[in-house]
């Protein structure tokens, strides 16, 4: 089966006065129809930049997509002209951003903002669009939607704003939704509400989702496959169960053992990953994780490993086999 979105060798750099930032370094990923792909990583690892690049939303300058192919419905999104990609954005691929307050326009009513999408892409009349907006807001669980559509974003609470964003993303029945940390700004109980709605709608409408987050917990209950990113590279990609149950990359392993679990029975000391994530301006030629890795060998400092297959649909970018390798103390 052909994937819905197929990204190949995507490289994005930012040319800043301080030097070139190697934000995304040749990543490959794909999303199948109706599938949820999770992308996890720490801040600055290139999660957001890689998906913004696929939509060509990188501010240029300073940013530049150096290479890459983004195949969507048989077309390379990197090669089509601006008007054509505008017709895809919001209609076939929709985005939900992290902070609902800054991504909604404060001087337009909710109705105006959502119906704009419908008028533009679906060529609906204002009246028809309004009815559709009410229907959408109802679907995402905003009470008394008909009365609330003429509200401004500041009259909505954080959770409601994020729901309005979801409604906007769903407006044109997109095939793919890119959700960039959609629940990070929300409280846990509201986060549970939002995840619940997205899950329900995903199962109902069969939309594919790319979910970006730094929270390993959210992905566990949501994604079919997971990509782990570090310093602009995908370091591990596998099914959700394998990433959590059978992680092969030292970084994934480190990340998992550094978060406390709510259901832990015996309190044990967290094993933290020593050191800091690398500066993306002077990126080492070697494996970017080598300075912090407790399994490293000499080879790690010489050559950057490429993704290799270690199991069915399971790839890692690492020289060593974690089962046989010896663990060392990192200074």
């Amino acid at each position: 089966m052909e994937p819905l979105l197929d990204v190949k060798n995507l490289t994005t750099r930012f040319y800043t006065p301080d030097g070139t930032v190697f934000a995304v370094n040749g990543v490959d990923f794909y999303v199948n129809k109706g599938e949820t792909l999770g992308i996890v990583g720490e801040s600055g690892c290139g999660k957001t930049v890689s998906v913004l690049s696929t939509m060509r939303l990188i501010p240029t300058p300073p940013g530049k997509i150096v290479s890459g192919e983004v195949l969507f419905e048989g077309k390379d999104l990197m090669k089509i002209n601006k008007d054509k990609i505008r017709k895809i954005r919001g209609k076939k691929i929709a985005m939900i951003f992290q902070d609902p307050m800054t991504s909604l326009n404060p001087v337009l009513t909710i109705n105006k903002q959502i119906s704009e999408v419908l008028q533009l892409h679906m060529k609906m009349t204002m009246k028809k669009a309004k009815n559709k907006v009410i229907e959408l807001l109802d679907m995402v669980g905003i009470p008394e939607a008909a009365d609330r559509i003429s509200d401004y974003p500041h009259q909505f609470s954080g959770g409601m704003r994020q729901r309005a964003m979801i409604a906007m993303a769903l407006a044109c029945n997109p095939q793919l939704i890119i959700a960039d940390e959609p629940t990070t700004a929300l409280d846990v109980t509201i986060q549970a509400q939002v995840i619940d709605i997205i899950k329900k709608l995903r199962d109902e409408l069969g939309t594919a989702i790319i979910w970006i987050t730094h929270d390993l917990g959210i992905i566990a209950g949501l994604a079919d496959r997971v990509n782990v990113m570090y310093a602009g590279y995908i370091v591990e990609t596998a099914s959700c169960k394998d990433v959590y149950g059978n992680p092969k990359h030292p970084y994934t392993l480190g990340l998992l053992s550094s978060v406390p679990r709510l259901d832990e029975i015996h309190k044990k000391r967290l094993t933290s990953i020593k050191g800091l994530p690398p500066d993306l301006i002077d990126m080492p030629e070697c494996c970017p994780f080598a300075p912090r890795c407790s399994y490293r060998i000499d080879k790690c400092f010489k050559k950057n490993p490429k993704l290799r297959t270690v199991g069915p649909d399971h790839k890692i970018a690492c020289w060593i086999d974690i089962e046989t390798a010896t663990k060392k103390e990192v200074a």
Binding site: S43, G159, A220, Y244, S258, P260, D263, E264, K267, I273
Partner: protein
């Protein structure tokens, strides 16, 4: 409970922020009831975790205990001294024993001061050390928190978030306090750095016998570090007990919902879990609901919940709950 090892006792603490209208004549039209009558205690050497959603009054509680905000009513008894009744020099002396670590390591360090001055300031202000002695102590403190003592002449912008938080910890430790309020100490940090700071806080507690009040919104973090946990909702405590007991045997509907909402990084566990999804948002603390303030979102609400405020009572040893159902 009333053994002698209670370090801090908070009794019916209230902090209201007045709402006024008018430009010339300020009329008092209402209050934001940030903290509305809470009581708890912290034993020597333990960590009490205070959890709740944003805006529930966690931070205000921490600040009111340290007298950084003057409480509207109530008593804070620290080492036998009622902090709400003393002021001036006497209070200043008490401040040496209690410190705070702030949430945002980017905002809580003065960008124009060198690390040495930031960490040394408490020593200087309280006349503990001067000159060479002060410098020596600062170097010692930096080493304790895992920073290079040579960083003494650097400025905050030269450090990463995790390192800055270490500077904040060093500053809090400067005066050898017995009690530290940690106000969301790790929530601004990256996942891999969070564990470093959590481990540091635990090590320091073992080494110096510190007592912590850990304020956080992340229940899994709180559960990991704390001996006991108090859950706050809309300015009031709804439940407090030992951290194991709270997880195994939560009594209050809000605690149950909160526990079920925290995602667990394990797909097999996640598949089997049932979520309690709370309806709606937290009501405004300006005009909290009558009766039990959780009645707008509670799934087990009864008639009595709309009329009478539930009493915060001890249901079993060291397990307090404020709910009519219990």
């Amino acid at each position: 409970m009333k053994e002698n090892n209670v370090l801090l006792e908070v009794k019916n603490l209230k902090k209201y922020f007045p709402i006024t209208t008018g430009i010339v004549i300020q009329r008092h039209v209402g209050d934001v009831k940030a903290v509305d009558g809470i009581s708890f205690y912290v034993k020597k050497g333990e960590t009490l975790g205070l959890v709740g959603e944003s805006g529930c009054g966690k931070t205000t509680t921490g600040r009111a205990i340290l007298q950084l905000e003057k409480p509207t009513a109530g008593n804070v008894i620290f080492e036998g001294e009622n902090l709400c009744k003393i002021s001036g020099e006497k209070l200043r002396k008490m401040r040496k024993k209690m410190q705070i670590i702030f949430q945002d390591p980017y905002a809580s360090l003065n960008p124009r001061l060198m690390v040495g001055d930031i960490v040394g300031e408490p020593l200087f202000v309280h006349n503990v050390a001067k000159g060479k002695k002060l410098k020596k102590r600062v170097r010692e403190l930096l080493e304790i928190v895992g920073l290079n003592p040579y960083f003494i002449t650097r400025y905050p912008h030269e450090f990463s978030g995790g390192q800055r938080q270490r500077i904040g910890v060093a500053r809090a430790l400067a005066l050898n306090p017995s009690f530290i309020v940690c106000d969301e100490p790790i929530s601004a940090l990256d996942v891999s750095i969070q564990a470093q700071i959590m481990n540091l806080l635990e090590d320091l507690q073992d080494e110096f016998g510190l007592t912590y009040l850990l304020i956080a919104h992340d229940l899994s973090v709180v559960r990991h570090i704390s001996d006991r946990i108090a859950v706050m909702y809309l300015g009031k405590l709804v439940e407090s007990t030992g951290s194991v007991e709270l997880y195994k045997n939560p009594q209050h509907p809000y605690t149950k919902a909160l526990l079920s909402a925290v995602p667990i990084p394990d797909p097999i566990v996640e598949e089997k879990r049932k979520r309690i999804i709370l309806k709606g948002d937290v009501p405004s603390p300006v005009n909290p609901p009558k009766g039990c303030n959780f009645n707008t979102r509670c799934s087990e609400v009864m008639d009595v919940c709309y009329e009478k405020e539930p009493e915060y009572k001890e249901v079993s040893t060291e397990h307090w709950v404020a709910c009519h159902k219990v």
